[in-house]
Assembly symmetry: C2
DNA sequence: TTGGGTGCAAAACCTTTGCACTGAA
DNA sequence: TTCAGTGCAAAGGTTTTGCACCCAA
């Protein structure tokens, strides 16, 4: 669960451990929420003036490949989160951007049906979009839930 | 459930009924599967040489607004389907593009939790991506399931 | 040393917008 | 007649690619 462990695992998988890769990994692990590429880029840029968008994209692809990040797609953008906990999905507030992890994965309810139908599921995405409790009361908050 | 009924309803909602709108409606209703904008455009273009992408996009937006189409987003694209049956989600084969409707919506399993957490859900997306039975046996098929 | 990784610039892709013209009501 | 709707062209936003240079192993 430590960053150093992940870096060692990257190395073991044949990836080189670079300053940029460590940085992206740190950024997505520092936040329990889904973050889009812009957010990740901005945070990385704040700590490394020279890091570029292509590197962010390539690094995130690699982290997904290596099983250290998860990707989902909504609102026309890719969103990423570090793999720090067990698999889960999110409720995303379209007002303040807060994300809250959901307790269950719908796939759990469908496993039998899929096996029966002989589907081979490689990916699934499930996101809920709406307004969180705080934004409903028209008191926009700055912080992040969860 | 008839196209003419939908056109009349569009009219009643204050939308003008144009050749292009009828065409888009016919195309998404002619296919029970999710279709991306490219597919819809190509089919429309085959029957109306002058129809344009902006019109397709604007019409699909309008149909979603009017409750006659549903939109979902995956693989970096918008996907649409006509509203001909009750709400449902899909399994999409990444090999042949076939889509199969799923019997249940995960939201049904979460209603209580969401109410308890006071989430106000406006949208949700749930798609399964993988390989369908036919493609698993390495015999690519041209047709469309469901 | 060396080839995998990076930054830059540009392209690719999907979607939206501005504007003058058209046609449904 | 009139203004919502259309087509065209162009722009916008996100993601990918090509290539020369750099640096982790």
């Amino acid at each position: 669960m430590d960053i150093k462990q992940d870096l060692a695992r990257l190395n073991a998988l044949g990836y080189r451990v670079t300053r940029q890769r460590r940085l992206v990994l740190e950024v997505i692990r520092a936040n329990p929420c889904l973050q889009n590429v812009d957010d990740i880029f901005t945070q990385c840029r704040g700590r490394d003036e020279s890091i570029s968008y292509p590197t962010i994209y390539r690094t995130l692809d690699m982290l997904v490949e290596a099983g250290m990040a998860r990707r989902t797609h909504f609102q026309g953008k890719n969103w990423y989160e570090g793999v720090m906990s067990s698999h889960h999905h999110h409720f995303v507030c379209t007002e303040c951007g807060a994300t809250v992890a959901l307790a269950v994965c719908p796939l759990d309810f469908l496993k039998e049906d899929l096996r029966a139908a002989q589907f081979e599921v490689h990916e699934h995405q499930f996101e809920l979009l709406g307004i969180c409790k705080d934004c409903q009361s028209n008191q926009p908050k700055g912080g992040v839930l969860l």
